[in-house]
């Protein structure tokens, strides 16, 4: 079973502390390519979450049976099988979105985030913890990709939730900025994604530094006030 403490650590690592996109800086290729709007980022993240949760639970269940020497090929086979399922599901049910995301769904196989979690976590931990790890790592990826996608499409087009009609046909993108907004094309191009991702990483580091500062000041140390300036 899983303790409350373990669960909190796994969730905290996935969502913030070891966030795949802004702490581990993994999976930049899909990040740059699909986050031209929030919906694409969210849908690719959802696909990745499903793959990661299932592959983590599969690997964790089989971890004592897989020979150590050939573990990577076995992991890849498991991940590839799951990705094929997801790929076919997207193709059948969300065909328009499938065309937009294109090669990046099959490429989840080679996504270093998936393999990294399988190798670093699922191969060493029980199935339940591994499942949560896969889900929360994916949730971390989800909110960063959604935020990045939302910022990029807002700057680039002045809309939010562009492409939502591909998932829910009766919904329309919302035009947030006035119609006359000229559109900052750079934000939609890969360099714009790099610059905004850099800003997000800087923001995370800044938040962490502030938290560390608070933690340092919190215990009232009697000698702290004697510091010279």
């Amino acid at each position: 079973m899983i303790t409350r403490e373990e669960f909190r650590t796994i969730a905290g690592n996935g969502i913030w502390k070891q966030n795949t996109s802004i702490a581990q800086i993994l999976g930049l290729c899909p990040l740059l390519a699909v986050t031209t709007n929030a919906v694409n980022g969210i849908m690719l993240s959802l696909a990745t979450i499903i793959v990661m949760a299932l592959s983590n639970v599969a690997v964790a269940s089989l971890r004592n049976l897989i020979p150590h020497e050939i573990r990577i090929p076995v992991f890849i086979l498991i991940v590839a099988a799951l990705v094929t399922v997801i790929d076919l599901l997207f193709n059948a049910n969300l065909h328009e979105l499938y065309l937009v995301l294109g090669i990046f769904i099959p490429l989840i196989v080679t996504n270093c985030i998936v393999l990294a979690r399988v190798e670093a976590f699922a191969a060493k931990n029980p199935p339940l913890q591994s499942t949560f790890d896969g889900v929360f790592m994916g949730v971390g990826m989800l909110w960063t990709l959604a935020l990045l996608g939302a910022m990029r499409e807002l700057l680039g087009n002045g809309t939010v939730l562009g492409g939502i009609d591909m998932v829910f046909p009766n919904m329309q993108p919302i035009q947030l900025l006035p119609e006359s907004y000229p559109g900052f094309l750079l934000a939609l191009l890969p360099p714009g994604a790099f610059i905004l991702l850099g800003c997000m990483i800087a923001w995370k580091n800044w938040m962490d530094a502030k938290a560390a500062e608070r933690a340092r000041l919190k215990p009232p140390a009697p000698v702290a006030s004697a510091g010279c300036h």
């Binding site: 559109g183 900052f184 094309l185 750079l186 191009l189 610059i195 850099g198």
Partner: protein
């Protein structure tokens, strides 16, 4: 600014250098305002304000001393170069966006004054021409004599942007005409018949280029820049354009046309000579200038953008560290160049 030995101590501060660069820009700006329209003065003010605000904000965030860095004038030089390379009737936010991007991203995120690997003004130009290609290609048509108030209204977006206000640059017009003509148009006829061309290059613009040349020569005379970069830039531009012009004068414009068109003069004297993002060794400066001139010609004649100087300078900025490393001057008493300081 680091250069190889000998080091001579000279009592010049950054702010003195920047003030003199601004003075050197004055002949070009005067010709620009006189021949093309006073809108450029408005753009200079907008760019300067945007630069100062962005600079203040970035210094404040980094807790650096405001007075010292604001008065060094480097932000103003960047702002003026941006205003001079953007279309004079561009909307105010375009110039402001470019300037803020140059100061915040291209300058301060790389560490501030003296640390930027790319020329901030050219980063602004590249960013804006990639993001807003239509607005960045609208240059006022020749002989457009709008009163200052009307120009101001266009810049501030109070008056509609009508087509008559905008045309291609002389360089762009020539490239398009030659491409569409597919051999039926020749350069001499275009120069003679089209209204936008003057004696040597674009009407009006050719004299602005002369203004930059005068300012550049003055900077060289004051030892603010060395002769290497401008001479190499001009020589390589003349060499490649001259060679193609001699081969086929009907399809390629003369070297003089290329020297006095677009950003060639401004680039040769004011942009490629940037001491921070350029090369520092004498031989490196020659290679840097020659490379920038060659790339500028290739991009402006064969590429899709109206002018190539900005991209050429940025590409050479990218090469500058390697060029510097490979062109270390001979150390006194050593046989091989530059081996002394490397393990």
């Amino acid at each position: 600014m680091f250069a190889p030995a000998p080091f001579l101590l000279k009592d010049t501060s950054v702010s003195q250098v920047m003030t003199q660069v601004c003075i050197a820009l004055v002949p070009g700006i005067a010709a620009y305002a006189w021949l093309v329209g006073p809108a450029i003065l408005v753009q200079l003010v907008i760019a300067s304000l945007a630069a100062l605000i962005a600079e203040t904000a970035m210094l404040h965030i980094q807790k650096k001393p405001l007075a010292m860095f604001l008065s060094d004038g480097s932000a103003i030089v960047t702002a003026w170069l941006i205003a001079l390379t953007f279309p004079p009737l561009a909307p105010w936010w375009l110039v402001a966006t470019g300037t803020v991007f140059a100061i915040v991203v291209a300058k301060h995120l790389y560490g501030g004054l003296g640390q930027n690997p790319f020329n901030p003004a050219m980063v602004a130009f590249a960013i804006c021409i990639v993001s807003f290609p239509a607005l960045m290609s609208q240059w006022p048509s020749v002989g457009l004599q709008l009163p200052l108030v009307d120009q101001l209204n266009v810049i501030l977006g109070l008056a509609p942007r009508v087509d008559a206000l905008s045309g291609a640059t002389p360089l762009d017009a020539m490239k398009t005409a030659l491409k569409l003509g597919e051999g039926s148009q020749d350069v001499a006829a275009l120069l003679a018949n089209q209204d936008i061309y003057g004696n040597f290059a674009g009407r009006g613009w050719e004299w602005v280029a002369f203004g930059y040349l005068i300012g550049g020569l003055w900077m060289w005379q004051r030892k603010l820049i060395t002769w290497h970069v401008p001479l190499a830039f001009i020589a390589s531009l003349v060499a490649i354009s001259g060679a193609l012009w001699l081969l086929n004068p009907a399809q390629f414009a003369s070297p003089l046309f290329h020297l006095l068109s677009g950003g060639a003069m401004l680039g040769a004297f004011f942009i490629a000579t940037d001491p921070v993002s350029g090369c520092t060794t004498p031989r490196g400066k020659l290679i840097f200038g020659a490379g920038a001139g060659l790339l500028a010609y290739i991009i402006r004649v064969f590429g899709g953008y109206p002018d190539g100087v900005a991209f050429a300078v940025l590409l050479m900025n990218l090469c500058a560290p390697v060029i510097d490393l490979l062109t270390q001057p001979k150390i006194f008493g050593m046989k091989d160049a530059g081996k002394g300081d490397r393990p």
